[in-house]
Amino acid sequence: MPRPAASSVGRPIAVTASDSTTRSALVQFLLRLGDDRLVLGHRLSEWCGHGPILEEDIALANIALDLVGQAALLLDLAGATEDAGRDGDALAYLREAIDYRNVLLVELPKGDFAFTVVRQFLFSVAAYYQLEGIARSTQTDLAGIAAKALKETRYHVRHAGEWVIKLGDGTDESHARTQSALDGLWRYTGEMFQTDAVDAALVGAGLVPDLTTVEPRWLAQVTDVIERATLTIPAAGYMQRGGRSGRHTEHLGIMLAEMQILQRSYPGAKW
């Protein structure tokens, strides 16, 4: 399915010159949302043709399609808001790792199937509550993208959540693999809820509602599923961070080297 025509994006955003702080905060916010989805969608797409059952090849590709589709809309809007001549493709294919704004969680290699579905679950639940808020944004392009993404994310939460339960409460081996995935991923979850001046500027300008309630709601839903999966929430510890300011793991650069190869090798070519 090709990317929907970006009819609502590409036109100038209604912020005045005196709002340049707000404008650049909005660009940053859109890059964060877009990069999270592009990087995670890319990781999921790595499963295509190699899933544990054919049904999962289809389901994971489906989620990857949703995420990359969301990323395309968000990055196009980021480019239009920035108004410096960059579209979604330029942002996706011609930025360095230090310019990417995704959380570290999504760039970690795909791991085994347990790692993939636990990560998807942890991300999708947070995304769901964030999008619910963002869909009420007064910036109508952003609100529209969020509303569409929210519907897709509802399915992602259900699909990944069901697998977490099946794997956690399946065999000894699946239980151990799923717990180990959860233990490894937990330290990367805090970054999803970290807020800074970018969020404050947008909340202050009334463009995005206050999202501080996302974390407790995320934790409640995650805890419920983890318990039903007979798994244990890892002990609280230091939360890794850095992605929002371009301080990534080593994995992202390798991923981008692969993703960007054609755009980097044939500067200016049309595809």
Binding site: P2, G49, A92, I165, G170, Q263
Partner: protein, 320 residues
């Protein structure tokens, strides 16, 4: 017990009258076997076919191309699933069919044993391989076995979309930079002949053709379909300024067909028998995915059993 001659006669009369055979209808044992062979080969081809194209999903050059390719490969997985389900109506399990593939006992379309070397291969596969599949499957959509025919109708719609997408990639590359044009032409050079081989050997050399035709599974011969594909494709190549790698290609005013040069059937036989460039790698990739996924499938079964036992216990305590 061999099929009774009367029953076979009655069955063949139904076929001759253009009736559709449905899963519950009586059918000769050979008909069932031939269909299982053909349909499972088709399903395997869809699934193995995900590998050469999947190879470029992470390197697709734009977001739109990434979405298009991912959606296409996802469609192929769907086709595989759909045709496996259709094959199951003949009384065989998908698990058994998959085991045959993984054991190297089942065939799949040989074209997928060739490597995808550049992005242009993604265009060439869509244009040629999906294009050839459409010609073949349009014919199979009239097959005498209902579930297969219906699967083909549905699948063909998507294959048409894939073909257009592939052709559009090639058109874009051909009109692009000299380097883009070069990879486009190179992909055409590599994929053209294997695509012609997709229709299988000449009918006179094709062991199954007579029986498949008599029972209405195949409505047209391999050579006829191949010719149709060539006739359709020549003009498309001209339109986007790419050259099909066949010096003998010329229009025959008498037949209205495009005459093409001899196919290298030795290459075809070699690839079918396992010595294509990537036969081993393709099979190994499927085996690896299956092996690595075993614990996932086991977990799903174990969890379902636990759920069933729990539901059982609830029902019993309610009854008590």
């Amino acid at each position: 017990m061999p099929d009774s001659p009367d029953a076979v006669r009655e069955f063949e009369a139904r076929i001759a009258a253009g009736e559709t055979i449905e899963p519950k209808d009586w059918m000769p044992d050979r008909y069932r076997k031939q269909l299982i062979r053909m349909m499972s080969q088709h399903a395997h081809s869809e699934v193995v076919g995900m590998l050469p194209e999947g190879n470029w999903i992470t390197r697709a050059p734009t977001l739109r191309r990434k979405l298009g390719l991912l959606a296409k490969v996802q469609d192929e997985a769907g086709h595989g699933l759909y045709i496996y389900c259709g094959t199951e109506t003949l009384g065989i399990d998908r698990a058994e069919l998959v085991d045959q593939l993984l054991a190297g006992k089942a065939k799949y379309s040989s074209i997928f044993n060739y490597p995808t070397l550049t992005w242009a291969d993604i265009g060439a596969i869509g244009w040629f391989v999906d294009g050839a599949a459409i010609v073949n499957q349009t014919m199979l959509a009239k097959a005498s076995y209902g579930p297969y025919a219906r699967a083909m109708v549905r699948i063909c719609k998507e294959e048409n979309f894939h073909k257009r997408q592939g052709y559009e990639i090639m058109a874009t590359l051909s009109a692009g930079t000299p380097e883009q044009k070069r990879i486009a032409q190179d992909a055409v050079n590599r994929w053209w002949w294997p695509s012609l081989m997709m229709f299988g050997p000449s009918d006179k050399d094709s062991p199954n053709s007579a029986e498949l035709t008599r029972w209405g599974i195949k409505r047209k011969g391999n050579d006829e379909l191949r010719q149709r594909f060539v006739n359709l494709t020549v003009g498309q190549a001209v339109a986007i300024d790419l050259v099909l790698p066949d010096p003998e290609l010329r229009h025959d005013a008498e037949t209205g067909n495009w005459h093409f040069g001899p196919i290298d059937w030795d290459e075809f036989t070699r690839v079918v028998h396992g010595d294509g460039p990537l036969n081993r790698e393709r099979l190994a990739a499927r085996q690896d995915a299956h092996r690595a996924g075993a614990w996932v499938r086991d977990a799903a079964v174990a969890h379902a059993a636990k759920r069933a036992a729990a539901a059982d216990a609830v029902a019993k305590s309610a009854a008590a």
